[in-house]
């Protein structure tokens, strides 16, 4: 009997608070998705080549999980606080009819558990489906499908999801229902009464003056935070960061604190000329802002964090997706050719190998063995040409970079040409006094300007000679390991190279696999097979695949976790906003009835409510949006590796667009719910 009662009540709660219930399901899905990250095909594969980094990421996941639990706790707490307040009259009646306080407490807890069970029953299958979908998509996206895909259920993920979900719910409800069930019946019976306009009482002038001041202070604080973020955040000083955070958060709260009364002033001024329900709409909005300023501020900050997370996730994904052409498959670390020759020419490996060659490169540093040689080097001619360009940021960066590279690496021409030939590209022909410029940084800000400048044939000084730079800038990958990068180096004729360095000193050996073998097996599978052979030899090597894997790992880990956080923040912010609105609407439903009695038709009442929802959401979103612009701006300038290119700009723009579409979707959902609520009022029709 009691159980039936609990079941019936919880069904009613689910029906009346569909939005909240949907958010619970989404949070279950999000929990499982992040907890099962370790079981994803991509991660399982990455574990085999990048175990340390993957382990570190997997250690980070519980932290992420705990953080999101805290957020979900607040969501559950606030949503249920309103819900229980709505039902306090009902609880008061139960007590009056003889229900014991302990039983009331049990009933509320029972309803929570039952709702939780229903949410889990719906949420878990969705999460399993979604993780499977993500799994397949990422596998396909990165071409990992060949490695093999199996349907996996992360049992730890499931149990942790369920435990965390119930823990958070029960804790929040325990606190709420404990205080609720200790109240006297009379308090409960009268708690539902609509809140009066206490903030707009007699001291109207003083109040609005204070609010105006609050609004102003809020705006000033926000501007200070924006300015500081742009100017100082790139220095990565945690004290500055904390200060910006403090000022920004305070600014947002104070801004919303002051906003309510300012809307009031606006209504008063417009009052005599407004028609229809516009005055009512504005007053409702004002009341919402006055009563819910703190949740509005919290939602704004959450939306801001979601925006920054999305931006960061996108730029991480973008940065690493710039995969250069494959030029080298394997690079061995060996002191001389004899170490690797027998292996490469062995029966096992030989059928697969296309070519192998040394990659001779050396830093142009004075060597103690050759004290008589002239190690003078200067970018003189190049720097002069750069300086003659119009002032720009890339120019400054380039000059700065060049000034720090006074002992560049030399790459021998024959090595570089061997690489080019293996990759089926045209080899370089250097004239007697010519050298070519090389950089692996082909996405940097100074790449384009350097490319242009080289066309003017600038010069460099090596020893007592002046060399002209070739008009082409080279940036092919010279070794398999992508972590090895050379900012600026010179491809020099072999004669010049050997004058300073012994070619046998080289410790890097490149190897490429036969194209037909790769075509037959697929790159991944082919390399995995060769990997297995190489592993047994104990030779130190780096493969293109492992290097790709590392990149992939940073992409997946970086974008996955930030997107996860972004989605969590967004869900919570929207749910808080939506619930606040719907709860307020329900507690003031008699107003809508009165409007209908005074002759407003259902359509105009629904339109008024829809407008209120728009404005309410837009208030939060627009403040978050302004803050977001500055936040993302400083994020992009503070991250040294992130380059704000036009392409990145477009993609970030697309993400922002997607975000806006999501928000509109949410707003529409709340609006539909509001329409249903209004049409439910029986006096209207």
């Amino acid at each position: 009997m009691f159980f039936d009662f609990v079941k019936r009540n919880s069904r009613k709660t689910r029906k009346e608070n569909g939005v909240y219930f949907a958010s619970l399901i989404v949070s279950i899905v999000a929990f499982y998705v992040i907890l099962s990250l370790g079981e994803q095909d991509v991660m399982l594969y990455l574990k085999t080549i990048e175990s340390d980094a993957v382990e570190r990421l997997l250690l980070l996941i519980p932290v992420l999980y705990a953080v999101s639990l805290v957020f979900v706790f607040f969501l559950v707490y606030f949503a249920n606080r309103y819900q229980l307040q709505q039902r306090s009259h009902e609880f008061g009646l139960y007590l009056m009819m003889g229900m014991k306080q302990s039983k009331l407490f049990l009933m509320i807890m029972g309803e929570t558990i039952w709702n939780g069970i229903v949410a889990v029953c719906i949420g878990l299958p969705i999460s399993l489906f979604l993780t499977e979908l993500i799994n397949l998509t990422t596998s396909r996206f990165v071409g990992m499908g060949i490695i093999g895909h199996a349907f996996r259920i992360s049992w730890t993920g499931i149990s942790l999801t369920i435990c965390g979900f119930f823990l958070v719910q029960l804790l929040a409800m325990f606190i709420l229902s404990f205080t609720m069930s200790r109240k006297e019946p009379i308090e409960l019976l009268h708690e539902e009464k609509e809140k009066s306009q206490s903030t707009m009482t007699p001291k109207w002038g003083a109040v609005s003056l204070l609010s105006g001041a609050a609004l102003l202070i809020g705006m000033i604080l926000l501007c200070i935070a924006y300015g500081m973020a742009i100017l100082y955040l790139r220095n990565f000083d945690y004290r500055v960061f904390a200060l910006i955070l403090l000022v920004g958060v305070c600014g947002t709260f104070i801004l919303f604190r002051g906003l309510g009364s300012v809307i009031g002033v606006y209504v008063k001024r417009k009052g005599s000329s407004s028609t229809g329900l516009s005055m009512f709409t504005a007053r409702q909005l004002q009341e919402n802002v006055l009563h819910q300023w703190s949740s509005l501020a919290i939602s704004t900050l959450l939306i801001l964090m979601a925006m920054v997370c999305f931006a960061f996730g996108t730029s991480t994904a973008l940065m690493n997706s710039a995969v250069a052409n494959r030029t080298v498959d394997y690079t061995f670390h060996a002191n001389n050719e004899d170490d690797i020759k027998p292996l490469i020419q062995s029966e096992e490996l030989a059928p697969y190998v296309d070519s192998y060659y040394r990659m001779a490169l050396h830093n142009f540093n004075p060597s103690e063995d050759e004290p008589l040689l002239n190690y003078h080097f200067a970018w003189t001619g190049l720097i002069e040409t750069v300086s003659s360009q119009d002032d720009s940021e890339p120019k400054e960066i380039l000059l700065n970079n060049l000034s720090m590279q006074d002992t560049p690496y030399f790459i021998s021409l024959s090595s570089y040409n061997a690489m080019l030939e293996a990759a089926e590209k045209k080899p370089i022909q250097l004239a007697g006094n010519e050298v070519a410029m090389y950089t692996s940084d082909d996405t940097g800000a100074s790449y384009d300007i350097l490319k242009d400048i080289l066309k003017k044939s600038p010069t460099v000084e090596i020893a007592e000679n002046e060399y002209t730079l070739m008009p082409t800038l080279y940036s092919d990958q010279i070794v398999a390991d992508r972590a090895i990068t050379l900012m600026y180096s010179l491809i020099v004729p072999d004669a010049l190279f050997e004058q300073y360095f012994d070619a046998d000193e080289t410790w890097l050996w490149n190897m490429t696999l036969k194209d037909e073998f790769i075509e037959e097996k697929g790159l991944m599978q082919a390399m995995l097979e060769v990997d297995q052979m190489l592993n047994s030899t104990g030779l130190q090597y780096e493969s293109y695949l492992a290097s790709m894997g590392r990149q992939l790992f940073y992409t997946v880990a970086g974008s996955y976790t930030t997107f996860y956080l972004g989605v969590m923040f967004l869900i919570i912010a929207n749910t808080v906003l939506g619930l606040n609105f719907l709860m307020q609407q329900r507690s003031t439903r008699s107003r809508y009835q009165t409007l209908a009695m005074l002759g407003a038709n259902v359509e105009s009442i629904c339109t008024s409510a829809r407008k209120q929802i728009w404005l309410y959401f837009i208030l939060a979103i627009s403040v978050a949006f302004v803050s977001g612009i500055f936040g993302i701006w400083s994020l992009l300038t503070a991250m040294p590796a992130t380059v704000f290119s036009f392409k990145n700009g477009i993609v970030i723009g697309l993400v922002v667009l997607l975000f806006i579409v999501m928000e509109i979707g949410y707003i529409r959902m709340i609006q539909r719910k509001s329409d249903v609520e209004i049409r439910k009022l029986k006096e209207i029709d």
């Binding site: 407004s274 107003r591 009695m597 005074l598 259902v602």
Partner: protein, 260 residues
């Protein structure tokens, strides 16, 4: 006043709640007319059907059968926007619990029916001044309902009911939530408006004091009109009329066999 010039005609109105065995007939064929400028009271015990009758006239309920004509238009058959156009414009309402919207100021509340019907508020400032003077609420116009006493709230509500100059004002126990002093003030003001502006008021009440301000009273019992009292004008004082009302009420309480 001529009898053919009827403002409101209620013809054979029946209202049935529930179905089958639960069927309850709240109104069993009520017929009466209201003339322009009349202050009509409807009295009856709890459950007699008086509030149902008012709700049917107010378009809050649809009658099961019968017609309600306001200025010759059958308002009981109205739907949607037709209904909305009538409410608040042709019909003014005064409720027991005031039903002011508590996040609007008194002035905004009063002007609301005009705003809803898209009437230029600036042109109606004159009407607002007159009504606020009549109901003695000039000082309260910028206050919110939570800052007003019950009596003040009901006077604001009365101004709201009258602002659009409706054909008829329907009042449901307007003094029900007021103390004697405030009830008296409200009734005096309503009566004053009725006499000076010739507004038509239909009031449901079980308070004999309030009813004594009416020019005619219909007594309703078990869903039918059971008795009618008319104040003899001129000549009969309010006190005398009150005595007569109380007598009828006493007889009503004692059963129909004692009446007439």
């Amino acid at each position: 006043m001529n009898a053919s010039n009827k403002l409101l005609e209620v013809k054979e109105v029946r209202k049935v709640f529930g179905e089958g065995q639960n069927e309850t007939m709240a109104l069993k064929g009520v017929t009466f007319n209201v003339l322009p400028g009349e202050f009509l009271g409807i009295m009856g015990a709890s459950g007699s059907g008086k509030t149902t009758l008012l709700n049917v006239i107010a378009t809050m309920l649809k009658p099961t059968s019968g017609q309600i004509l306001l200025d010759g238009q059958n308002i009981s058959s109205f739907k949607g926007s037709q209904l909305a156009a009538y409410r608040g414009d042709q019909i003014g309402y005064l409720f027991q619990q005031f039903e002011l919207i508590d996040n609007l100021t008194a002035k905004e509340n009063i002007m609301l029916p005009l705003a809803i019907h898209g009437i230029n508020l600036k042109e109606q400032e004159q009407a607002l001044r007159q009504l606020s003077k009549l109901f003695d609420i000039e000082e309260l116009l910028n206050k919110f309902p939570s800052q007003l006493s019950g009596g003040q709230k009901q006077r604001v509500a009365a101004a709201r009911a009258l602002i659009s100059n409706p054909s008829i004002v329907l009042a449901d126990e307007p003094t029900g939530a007021l103390d004697t002093k405030n009830a008296k003030i409200l009734m005096e003001k309503l009566s004053e408006h009725n006499q000076q502006q010739e507004s038509t008021i239909l009031m449901v009440t079980h308070d004999a004091n309030a009813a004594s301000y009416c020019s005619r009273i219909l007594f309703i019992q078990d869903g039918v009109i059971f008795h009618e009292l008319r104040r003899n004008v001129p000549g009969e004082s309010q006190e005398a009329f009150y005595e007569r009302i109380v007598m009828v009420m006493a007889q009503l309480a004692g059963g129909s066999s004692n009446v007439l």
